[in-house]
């Protein structure tokens, strides 16, 4: 099970969704904590946002990612950035510093699947943004966006 959010520029979520199946759902006590876990991960994301090489050292509770040191290395997809008692949290930064954060209920982050998921959602976000009536930081309440994201989320369960 997964909990996905898009966070705007002032810590406010502009989109949230839970991806669950009949077998995989969040425990109620975790479920109510999810938004706050994501909020706390913002500390780490902000730290990584401006690092030249976004590699985590001891300043987080768990391991890093992206071992390569190339200066042209991508710094949008951050991989697993944090963990919280058995849950893993992954993050993605857009060029406008909007943050996509997802809580992985099974404690692991599959980089390839998650990365492609983020890319697809980013494209959807951009299309929403291109709408002149949509202001940055507005909640995305369009149902088409929602349905498309849910279709994409199916890939995460493989």
């Amino acid at each position: 099970m997964f909990y996905f959010t898009i966070i705007g520029t002032s810590d406010n979520p502009i989109y949230e969704a839970e991806f669950t199946t009949a077998k995989n759902t969040f425990q109620p006590e975790i479920k109510e904590l999810n938004p706050y876990i994501v909020h706390s991960t913002l500390d780490i994301m902000e730290y990584l946002q401006w690092q030249r090489q976004p590699q985590l050292d001891i300043n987080t509770s768990s391991g890093g990612f992206l071992r390569s040191r190339h200066s042209t290395q991508e710094n949008s997809y951050l991989g697993k950035v944090d963990s919280f008692y058995g849950l893993a949290v992954s993050g993605f930064l857009t060029y406008g510093n909007i943050k996509f954060i997802m809580v992985h209920g099974n404690g692991t982050v599959d980089d390839t699947v998650t990365r492609s998921f983020y890319y697809e959602v980013y494209e959807l976000y951009l299309k929403t943004l291109m709408n002149p009536f949509y202001k940055v930081n507005d909640p995305i309440s369009n149902s088409a966006f929602d349905s498309k994201v849910r279709v994409l989320s199916k890939r995460l369960f493989v």
Partner: protein, 647 residues
């Protein structure tokens, strides 16, 4: 009530609500740790004297009396500060009161314990601390606290720290240990009641009895050497009687000359009908069982104020003029006889060791079957073995604040104890502790990662290899480590390490629910101070009252209107789409949101344990980060639900 804040007030903060808004004292963790490791002075019992004491002051025994005067003795915290100057009878012996809370260097600190026989007898199986004991104590302690918190509404971070340190102290076992010498008494006070006619003969008897305890007591442990305890006679007399005073003088001389033992005198039994007396407050560092007892049987003991000063003077005298020189002498002796040969080239080189036959008559470590504690009965180094003497040397250096020396000896011992994990673990533990206590200035971010962290991991590994029954030792070790890490100046690096360790305790479920919440709050504190040194934390959101002051200032300074579309002569048109970023300087360099998350989780757990006031304070501290978020206003969201429930 005195307005001056002191160590005693901090530890007993539950009784001093007026101090709850004080800031957190600097390096308080170090002081607490140092207090739990200070030299022990055991007070032997004297039945006649105890009965006399009971009649006069309603105190059970003289060791109980001394208990009230322990810990940071220069604070003289039993003396209320208002009466200090006015009392004409107070003896001014040049010993001024000090405030150990605010001093940098370590003050004199001692702990008074029961008699040696008592100490040995309680070192048995059923007194091993269980996590359930701690939890029930905490539950009661916090229950007592709830009504006091009701009256004093302002949330106080200081009180939470005090509760944590009280929890920490309950974890610190004071049982005699074969692995280190921190709780072995250094001085033994042998009291004599002069008013009842006890004199030289009684003294001689008591001394002989004391010196032969290792032969007479059947379970006298082999790791204690009775000759390493300094006996001191305490002659208690009545000041008003001239002849008692003279016999005290004579006795002091004869005891010195014939028995070679020093003595001090206290005019304990002077009648005090017309004098001003003070009610003593409870002592600070006591074991869990005594704390539980104290809570359910509060007693009030009145002592004349003059006597208080006199007692403190005597204790300072014992400590400064007798105990410390004694310890120094022993240290020098052990240094010469054990340490120097150990450091010589032949000993350290394993190749040469083969050629050295065990000529020395030092007994070596042997297997001991301890009937009371079969699991620990593997190996014991007796008191006279060179390894244990070295350990003692290191421990005593630590107690005298010579951390550098202690560290070097612990380092030496880690090689010796390689094959004895039960001895190795405390050795590594104290090596780390002495490193962090002493070398404050040379510890850089790099040292933390390359030296301190591996050392800690190694110590914990060794502890984990041992029996589950003693899991509380691991927890105590880890808590000590994390406290010391959090008191370093470079918290940006050390704080995440501390969080790792604390989270490890949490995940292992070794502690009960109350202890777990307290650990959660400690994790929150660790995140609160995790700020990069280059940031001025002025930019972090603060709780309401402070925020309102800032906001009104900002509103006065700027002339802007709220809504950009308001066309007002005084206001300028503003772009309402303009992104505002307030925390650019501290972006990513604090862990404020993590702090708030853990406060929220702690609040939730407190509600489950029905401690509403504790939960309320946690929510108050979590509020600055969450108040402005729309997600916090959702009716079924956690924050909103808890806020409503607790308001």
């Amino acid at each position: 009530m005195s307005l001056q804040f002191s160590y005693e007030k901090y530890m007993n903060l539950i009784q001093y609500p007026e101090h709850w808004s004080n800031p957190i004292p600097h390096e308080i963790s170090k002081k607490v740790i140092y207090n739990t490791l200070s030299p022990c002075i055991c007070v032997q019992s004297n039945l006649e004297l105890d009965n006399h004491l009971k009649d006069m002051y309603n105190i059970d025994s003289i060791s109980m009396l001394f208990r009230y005067f322990g810990d940071y003795i220069q604070d003289r915290d039993q003396i209320p500060s208002t009466t200090d100057l006015k009392d004409p009878g107070s003896v001014s012996s040049g010993r001024h009161r000090s405030d150990s809370l605010f001093q940098r260097q370590a003050s004199e600190c001692v702990r008074f314990t029961r008699s040696l026989e008592d100490l040995i007898s309680i070192d048995s199986e059923d007194h091993i601390l269980q996590s359930t004991d701690i939890d029930s104590f905490l539950s009661q302690y916090l229950q007592n606290l709830e009504p006091i918190m009701n009256e004093n509404g302002t949330p106080s971070k200081l009180l939470k720290h005090s509760i944590y340190h009280r929890f920490f102290i309950t974890l610190s076992s004071i049982n005699l240990s074969r692995y280190h010498s921190f709780h072995h008494p250094v001085v033994a006070l042998l009291p004599l009641d002069i008013t009842k006619g006890q004199g030289y003969e009684n003294a001689r008897e008591i001394l002989i009895h004391f010196k032969n305890l290792n032969n007479t007591l059947e379970n006298f442990p082999e790791f204690i050497n009775i000759n390493d305890i300094l006996p001191v006679f305490v002659l208690c007399y009545d000041e008003n009687s001239r002849e008692q005073w003279e016999s005290v003088q004579a006795l002091t001389k004869s005891l010195k000359k014939q028995l070679f033992v020093e003595s001090v005198s206290i005019s304990l039994f002077t009648p005090h009908d017309n004098q001003k007396s003070t009610t003593l407050h409870s002592p600070i560092t006591v074991s869990l069982h005594e704390q539980v007892f104290n809570m359910s049987h509060p007693t009030s003991i009145n002592i004349p104020s003059r006597l208080l000063t006199h007692i403190y003077d005597t204790i300072s005298f014992i400590v400064e003029e007798m105990m410390i020189p004694f310890m120094h002498r022993k240290l020098v002796f052990w240094d010469e006889t054990v340490l120097q040969p150990r450091k010589s080239i032949f000993q350290s080189n394993k190749f040469f060791r083969r050629f050295i036959s065990p000529k020395s008559n030092h007994p070596i470590a042997h297997k001991v079957n301890d009937p009371q504690d079969p699991a620990e009965g593997d190996i014991m180094f007796p008191a006279s073995s060179p390894e244990f003497l070295l350990r003692k040397l290191a421990d005593w250096s630590f107690m005298l604040s010579d951390f550098k020396k202690a560290y070097s000896i612990y380092d030496l011992l880690t090689k010796d104890f390689e094959s004895y994990p039960q001895y190795l673990a405390p050795c590594l533990e104290y090596k780390t502790i002495s490193l962090l206590m002493g070398a404050q200035n040379i510890i850089t971010a790099k040292t933390i990662k390359t030296e301190v962290d591996p050392l800690m991991t190694r110590a914990i590994e060794q502890y984990k290899k041992q029996d589950e029954k003693h899991s509380l030792r691991v927890i105590h070790c880890i808590l000590t480590f994390s406290d010391l890490l959090l008191s370093l100046s470079d918290t940006w690096v050390s704080s995440p390490l501390a969080v790792n360790y604390l989270t490890y305790i949490q995940k292992s479920h070794l502690l009960g629910p109350y202890a777990t919440v307290i650990i959660l709050e400690r994790i929150a504190y660790a995140y609160e101070i995790c700020i990069d040194l280059r940031v001025n934390d002025h930019f972090l959101p603060k709780p309401d009252e402070e925020n309102k002051a800032d906001e009104s200032e900002a509103a006065e300074n700027s002339k802007k209107g709220e809504n950009g579309l308001e066309v007002d002569d005084m206001h300028e048109w503003r772009n309402e789409n303009k992104l505002i970023q307030n925390n650019l300087r501290s972006e990513g360099l604090t862990r404020f949101r993590k702090y708030s998350l853990y406060q929220l989780v702690a609040a939730k757990k407190w509600v489950e344990l029905h401690k509403r006031n504790q939960a309320k304070w946690c929510i108050y501290h979590a509020a600055p980060a969450y108040e402005k978020l729309s997600l916090s206003k959702r009716p079924d969201g956690l924050f909103h639900r808890l806020s409503m429930e607790l308001s």
